[in-house]
Each structure stands twice: as C-alpha cells, then as structure tokens.
C-alpha cells in the first residue's frame, strides 16, 4: 500500500517567494513563521465552542457594516411613504423608517438584518457554552487566569452590545426593552436620575438615545470587543491550548495537528460552517420582524414581549422579585428593581471572575495546569458550576413565565411564586445531584481501571459457575482516565502536640483548611487492575 505521495512542489513558487522575501527583508517575518507555522493545536470537539463565538463576531462585523450603509440613527419624526402598505402614512422615527427600508427596499437587506441578529444570538450563546467548557474542565487555572478574566469582560460587553443593538430599530418591541432599561437605570440610588437624564439627553425617551446607542453599538463597544478578542487570541496562542488527558499527553507537551496546513484549513472550514448556519437561519428562520410591531410609542406595548435570550435571566429576575421598596428621609430605594437588576448579574459575573483565585486560595495550588480536568474529577467545582447554571437557567426560564402560563395553562402567579422558591432550592438540589453523579462516575472510572470492562464473553468454570470475562480497557481510554490528578489539600491537621500548621491558626486560616480538605478529599483513587483481590462486579474475574 502506497502511503506517501511524491511531493508535487520542489521549491517555493516565485509568486509566494517574492512577496515573502520582501516582507522578511522588512519585518523579519521569517523567524516568527519558523516558530509558528507548525504550532501544534490539540483536538477535542469542545475546543470548537469558542470558535463559534469568534466567527460569529466576524460575521457580525461584516453584516453590521452592511447595515450601517442604510440605517439612520435618528429619532426625528417622519411619515412613512415606503412600500409596506400597512404602515404607509404612519408617523415614525427615522431609525424605524430606515430599518423598514433595509428590510423591504434594499436587496439582501432583510437577509443581512436577520443574519446580523442571528449571529448576535450565536455570538453570546457560543461565548456562554465556551465559558462553561473552560469552567468545567478547569482550563482557567494558572497560567490562564488573565485570559479567563478577559473572557468574563467579553461576555459582559457582549450583553451591552446586544442591548444597544436591539434598541436601534426603535420598534415597539425594542422600545419596551429601552423603557425597562430606563426604569432600571433610574432606580439606582443617588445617581439614577442623573444617569438617565445624561443617557437620554433629558426625559425619557428624548431624541438622543438612538444616536448615542448607535455610536456605542458600532464604534465603542465593538472596538473594545475587538481589542479584547485579539488579546484573548494572542494569550491563547502564547500560552498554547490546554489538552484533554490521553495517550502521550502530559502537562509539559502539546499533542495535535500543526497550524499549517491542517489546523488552518480546519479553522477556515469551521468559520464557513458557522457562516452557513447563520446564513441558513437568516434565510429560513424569521427573526425580529419589526414591521409587524409598529413604531415605538411609550403609550403602547404588546403582550408577550420578550427580550433576546441573553437578557432573559434579568427579565426573569425582575418578574420574580417581590414588591420591596424602602422610603427613608425623603429618599426612595426601589429594591424591587435594584436587587433583580444587579444581584443575579453581580453574583454570576463576579463569581466567574473570582473563581480561579478562590479555587487557588482554597487548594493552595500554584502550579501551571495544561491538562484539562474531566468535570467529574473535581466534583465540588462541577457542582458549583451546575448550581450556577440552574440558577441562571431558572431565572431565564421564568423570564418567559407568561408564555409558560399561557402554553401550559398554569396560573400566572403560581409560576412566579414557584420561581421565588425555585431560584434558591433549584441550585441547592443541582449541587447535590451533580455531586452524586460526579462521585458515581469517578467510581465507575476506578472500577474500569481496577476490574476492566465487560467483554461479553461468558465462561463456564469447572465448578459449573458462569462468569463474564473482564478485559482491560482500551489503551487510549485507560490513558484518558489516568489523566486524573489528585486535588491538593492545604495542611490543616494539628500535629502530635495539637498545634495546627502555621497557615491554619487564624479563623480565616482554619476555614481555609476546612474548605481545602472538603474540596480536595472527594476523590476516588484509581487503582490499576490486578493484585488487589477485589471481586469483579457480576462475579466476573480479572483477566490479563
């Protein structure tokens, strides 16, 4: 069997060699390329999640630029004279009129608008699942804490970018979102009224906010996003990607395919797949049909108004909150707005940003980690993550409690009351359940390593007993399982004389030692098969 082809190229073609030499003479690009052309990228399906977000961002820039050619970010009133019959003669803002124009009078305008909106949803969704992957595999650990924080900033900025973006068409639905934004901003103690007057150029809605959101949406926030995404990529490149445990992989190497040509081509294809998905959604799945909503007026709203999905958790929090408001000394503290607007987002974003440092403080682990954890092997982290996911998910779900109520014929208020309890009980339950599942999976791994896997071969013993023969696991699977690392624990035990170690004498130190023990102990050690005399499950036997 021939496996090697004759090389088809014997020297660099002139067309490439010429410009390459030109650039090298001026930039010294050669030494960079020498080090990086064959940079190795490890492979795992979950490493592609972040790329969805990256490519969506590129598509957002492309489609967004197209939209700016026609969009007019003005709130001056005009009478609609365009081709859409139902709105002809209606007074509306220039922003809304120009969005209608993009939709009905520019060829490909509707496609680009819908692709832009879908890409925005995919951008945030991609970032979110990528972040979950990084969290659950512990890929944020040293040396990647800074990149993790950049990621948290990116996610926060993406929410702001989305909010400023979907307010721009100035239709009735986006106006509802803007009104809620104003209601939240004005509730802030001390600065709220000033902040809203500065944002809206006076009283709500004013005539400035669309133009201001426009410059934030197309210049300031994307500029920062672009800078942070570049930094994110450069750090990933410099620090090299983490890899899953497996054969030949360890903490001091990277195993995979070279950037040139394989990874480059694969990444290009993946960009095109993302582009395909967004183009297909923009073609076949209608999104934000603003012409049906009509122009914005603060006097009207339609029932069942929903924000884009990534704002859903804030919407849910606002809906669940009881009517708490404090008046004192002539001032008002609208807790029923402040708490849901700030606390869930604060918990999630601050928690995310601090987690690497809290974990490091608890475990005392200052080593570099380049092998990704399997989520089961750090059960407390995984459980905390799942508790946060359930907290977010419940808030998100109950942001649509009116839809749930209408669809399932449940009393509307019951969904709210259920939610008020569920946001506390749900995460606790998720913690316990996830923890049990992690431990079960760890035991399963330990069993596979110590007793092997069922081979499907039934053997009759001389004494008439039937047993199923167990065989050792496949080598790649075994190597994958062997990637499990013991979680370090801080010394906290008192010595023989009853004196605790130096770091564990203060109250904080004691708490830290207790946490560390809890966090690190929950670990089922792997024992390689043989020599232990355990009876295999199903009264099998160890086979070598």
């Amino acid at each position: 069997m021939t496996t090697l082809k004759e090389p088809a190229l014997t020297e660099t073609p002139k067309l490439i060699a010429g410009p390459a030499s030109y650039l090298d003479d001026r930039l010294g690009a050669g030494s960079f390329l020498k080090r990086n052309l064959r940079k190795v990228f490890p492979d795992h399906w979950s490493f592609l999640l972040g790329e969805i977000a990256l490519y969506s961002f590129i598509i957002l820039l492309l489609t967004g630029t197209f939209l700016t050619f026609w969009f007019k970010p003005g709130m001056g009133h005009v009478e609609y004279q365009g081709p859409y019959e139902q709105l002809r003669g209606v007074m509306m803002s220039e922003a809304y009129a120009s969005t209608l124009k993009i939709s009905f009078e520019v060829r490909g305008g509707l496609l680009m608008r819908q692709m832009h909106h879908w890409a925005a949803l995919l951008f945030v969704a991609g970032m979110t699942v990528h972040m979950l992957r990084v969290f659950f595999t512990g890929a944020y650990r040293k040396p990647r804490e800074l990149n993790w924080i950049i990621g948290v900033l990116l996610l926060t900025l993406a929410l702001a970018e989305g909010l400023t973006g979907y307010s721009l068409p100035d239709d009735l639905l986006s106006g509802a979102g803007l009104r809620i934004t104003e209601g939240v901003a004005i509730s802030l103690p001390l600065v709220g009224t000033y902040l809203t007057f500065f944002l809206f150029g006076g009283e709500y809605p004013g005539e400035d906010v669309i133009a201001r959101f426009y410059s934030l949406h197309i210049l300031l926030i994307p500029g920062i996003l672009l800078a942070l995404i570049s930094a994110h990529m450069i750090l990933m490149w410099v620090q090299k990607h983490t890899q899953m445990p497996g054969t030949g992989r360890n903490n001091t190497n990277v195993v995979g395919a070279p950037f040139y040509p394989a990874f480059m081509a694969k990444a290009g294809a993946y960009f095109l797949f993302t582009f395909t998905a967004i183009a297909a959604l923009g073609t076949f799945a209608q999104i934000n049909p603003i012409w049906l909503f009509g122009p914005y007026t603060p006097a009207d709203i339609s029932a069942g108004s929903q924000p884009d999905f990534y704002m859903g958790f804030l919407e849910g929090a606002l809906r669940l909150m009881p009517a708490w408001e404090i008046n004192f000394l002539g001032y008002t503290l609208p807790l029923s707005v402040l708490i849901p607007a700030l606390v869930p987002m604060g918990i999630i974003m601050t928690g995310l940003a601090l987690y690497p440092f809290i974990e490091q403080w608890v475990t005392g682990d200052r080593r570099e980690h380049h092998i990704a954890d399997r989520p089961r092997n750090n059960p407390h982290r995984t459980s905390i993550g799942m508790a946060a996911v359930v907290f977010y998910g419940l808030l998100w779900l109950l942001g649509a409690n009116d839809e749930i109520s209408a669809f399932f014929h449940i009393d509307l208020y019951h969904t709210t009351i259920f939610g008020r309890f569920a946001v506390f009980l749900g995460p606790a339950l998720a913690y316990v359940v996830t923890y049990r599942i992690c431990m079960g999976l760890q035991r399963k791994d330990a069993e596979v390593m110590s007793h092997g896997v069922e081979s499907g071969v039934i053997k009759r013993m001389p004494n008439g007993q039937y047993i199923e023969v167990h065989v050792p696991p496949a080598e790649d699977i075994a190597d994958h399982l062997r990637g499990k690392a013991r979680l370090p624990i801080l010394p906290g035990e008192a010595d023989i004389e009853g004196i605790p170690p130096k770091g564990a004498r203060s109250i904080l130190g004691k708490a830290r030692a207790v946490l560390s023990k809890k966090y690190g102990t929950e670990h089922v050690p792997l024992e390689e098969e043989g020599g232990h005399g355990h009876a295999a499950i199903g009264s099998g036997e160890d086979k070598h």
Binding site: L111, A269, G282, A303
Partner: protein, 358 residues
Amino acid sequence: MTSNEHSSHEEDARVPRRVIGTPAAGTAVLGDSPPQPPVEDPAVVYPDLAAARRAERLVALLFLVTFLSGVAFIASYVIFQVGTVDSTAASNLALGTSLTLALLSLAAGIVLWVRRIMPKYTLVQERHPMVSAPDTQEYVADTFVAGANESGFVRHKLLRRTLLLAAAPLGLAPLILLKDLGPLPGTSLRHTVWKKGLRLTVEGTGAPIRAADFNSPGGILSVVPQGYEHDLNALAKATLILIKFRSDQLKAGTNQNWTHDGIVAYSKICTHVGCPAALYEQTTHHILCPCHQSTFDATDGAKVIFGPAARPLPQLPIGVDSEGYLIAEADFDVPVGPSFWERGDAEAEAREAREKAS
C-alpha cells in the same frame, strides 16, 4: 511571540547574507533548498493514495457546487427585486439559499480535504513554563532600577509631584465634557403635561371623549392629552387608562372626588419600570402590566395585588368641560412611572397636603 521547541534563536539565520547588487532571487523566506525526501514519520500518517483520489473527486464536486451557488447568488440579486412583502420574501429566499449552499459545500469540501487528503497528525511540542528564566528576570529588574534612577524621577521630588498634579485635572477633563449630555433632572419627573382644562383624547384617533358617550362598563380606553399625540416625552408620563364603573363598584382606595360619573383615570405607566400597564381583565377589574406582571386593582385606587410594582398607579383628577368632554382637573399629585432616588414617599406627602387643604 511564543517560544516552543525551536527556541534557539542563534540558529535563526533566516536568509543567507546577500551581496549588495545581486538579485534576491533564491533567498525566499520559505526556503528553496530541495525538499528532503519524505521519511516515514509516525506522527504524520498519509491516507491511502486511492482513497485520497476518491476524496479529491468528492471535494471537487463540492467546490463546483459552491461555484454554481455563488453564480446563483449573483443571479438572484439581479433577478429578484424587492419592494412588497412577497417579493422581498422571494428575494430573501433566493439570496439566502444560494449563499447557504455556497458556504456549506465550501466548508464541507475543505473538511473532506483535511480529513481524507491531508495526513493524520500526532505531532508533539514541548511546553515551557510561562515564567521567564531567573537571569532574565534579574536583568529586567536591574534595568528597571537603573532606568528609574537615570530618569531622575525618584530623586527629583518636585518633578514627580508636579507631574502628578498636572495629570489630575487633565484626567477629569473628559468627565467634565460629558456634562452637556443632558439637563439636570430638576423637578421635571414630578410633573406631566396634564393641567386643569386639558382634554382627554383617545389614543390613536385623537378624538376627545364626551363623558356621556363613554359607557363601556368593563371596558378600558387608552387616553392621551389633547395636542400631545405625537410628543413621546409627554406620552411617556401622561398616558392614561380610562375605565368606567358603577359607583357601587368603587372602593376606598379610589379618590371618588377625582372621578366623573364612575369614570376613573389612572396613569398607564407602570410604577415598576415604566412599561404601559395595558392589559385589563373585565371580570376581576385587574390591570396587568405585560412586562413583569404587576397587577393593580382598578376598583381600589389601582393598588398592587401582585408582582414587583411597589406602588399603585397614580390617579388623575378628571371632570368635564362646558361641552361635556372629559378634561383633567389638575396634574397628578405624585410622580408617575418608576421609582427613583429623590422621589421619597410622595403619596404620604400628597395625602398630608390634601388633608391640610380640606
């Protein structure tokens, strides 16, 4: 940029030294030395030649589909015009489908190319700790200290302090510049455009409302001040809902003096975050805000019965003019809409003021 296994920089003789005046040909950065004969590298496994040939045909087919779809995209742009809802839908479908197909087959082709024609790689590269070598650290630390001393920044106190002083106002300047983003709130949030004698008109038609004609027991009407139909700033605070009750239906929470013949006017702007509280349930007389489901009892001064709103919808005093049209008797006596810091317990203050007046 990064360091990996090829980290010995001394070997980076990228380009052979060129004699001035001689052509640069043959000094390509990508190298022109005859390629090494391929060696069997276990880390780079080529696919079977025949399989690669089969894959090549498939890839070529996919690239051809991309070509045709791309042509179809351009043709669609020319053929399908937009304007009506139907023609726009057709154009969108034609453009979108051809674009999707072009991208999909290109992506699929490249993936097949990578997976079936390129070799399988299991290359290994060493990682090095991110931390720089101790001698590098030492050099940088020494250089930093030396440079700081050379600059005189440490020794010359006056220079250092005046520089910091100089920076402070410049740092504030951009913030100061933002002041003209908007006027200060003042008391504007406490007033609406409603004043004595201003007629109530139906939102949408602008028609004034004759009290005798407004008889839709159980119905709800969205109302705006006459002359402000297109003033969004005014509407954001002044929009009303108008409901007619039998007089025995109204409870203590509603100020009966502010009603006319069982007609009550409440602010439509929700006291939670300002959505229009636009839903009304006839049988229970509940006003519901569709945004966050704050529910108000219309018979009882629009007091809150469920949801996150903390205060009732303010009631507007109404009456009729000489022609029998509904008019406002005064502005709201409390701020409408969402709560804000300076608002305080406006309801209690208004109550006290009323008691003092009566």
